[in-house]
Symmetry: C2
Subunit: 123 residues, 2 copies
DNA sequence: CAGCATCCTATAAGATACTG
DNA sequence: CAGTATCTTATAGGATGCTG
């Protein structure tokens, strides 16, 4: 039973956006893919806290909704790459805005607490 | 037991942003408040599908995180207004980006399906 | 009017083990 | 390597009724 987020009826643009790229992982995944195609394992390394199950699930939904493409290379051992579609590229402004705001916010928090950045693709 | 989303440790700016304004309702609430202060009941009317419990809960979290202000007027019947703080105003670029993208997306979907816009604050 | 309390369901998310 | 399968837990979200 697969889920196409694009099949859900939305009342409002923001609601639709959240439906397609909302949730805990999708924006993060898309952001990592802005640098170019990545393998399953590479994505997992970039998000150490995601489980293979969740990563698979989120990638399938993004694929069903036309945001990313899945390339299977018929080799042994298996090699699968994911990359943004043209449509997927159009979410970049949102990711940039979220990243910029989060960065300012984290800088303030860290300044107060004396902690350091953890190092992430988008910072 | 109240939740301060700002107390959660985040590894990455996008993650932090999602922590503070992610979820099904917060971006929508903030967006409605960009037009100025609103009463509880007004917000509820703008989001017919939200329950009072959820609305209260989301408003409290936004307040704890410094994004909105809650004004209680000591009158009968009670009057409570919510408005963006200066910090809350800074999320506007994100909301705009989400709204713009969602609008283009919905327009395409609707063109294919022949349906119409439902009418929402941000469209 | 603006909520709170209580109870309940659905969905998201995680742990662990296994496989083509 | 890139997943699946199964089981379990946590969180989001909802229905209903009540109150200062």
């Amino acid at each position: 039973m697969k889920r196409d987020c694009s099949k859900i009826p939305y009342d409002c643009p923001i609601e639709a956006t959240l439906g397609l790229i909302g949730g805990k992982w999708k924006a993060l995944i898309l952001d990592h893919l802005t640098g170019g195609a990545l393998r399953f394992g590479a994505l997992q390394k970039m998000m150490p806290k995601i489980t293979p199950k969740m990563l698979t699930q989120q990638l399938r939904e993004l694929e069903n909704d036309g945001l990313i493409l899945r390339h299977v290379y018929p080799v042994v051992p298996p090699k699968v790459e994911y990359e943004l579609t043209d449509f997927g590229q159009t979410v970049l402004p949102i990711l940039d805005a979220m990243c910029a705001w989060g960065r300012v916010y984290l800088d303030n928090v860290r300044e107060q607490e004396g902690t350091k950045a953890a190092g992430c693709a988008c910072e």
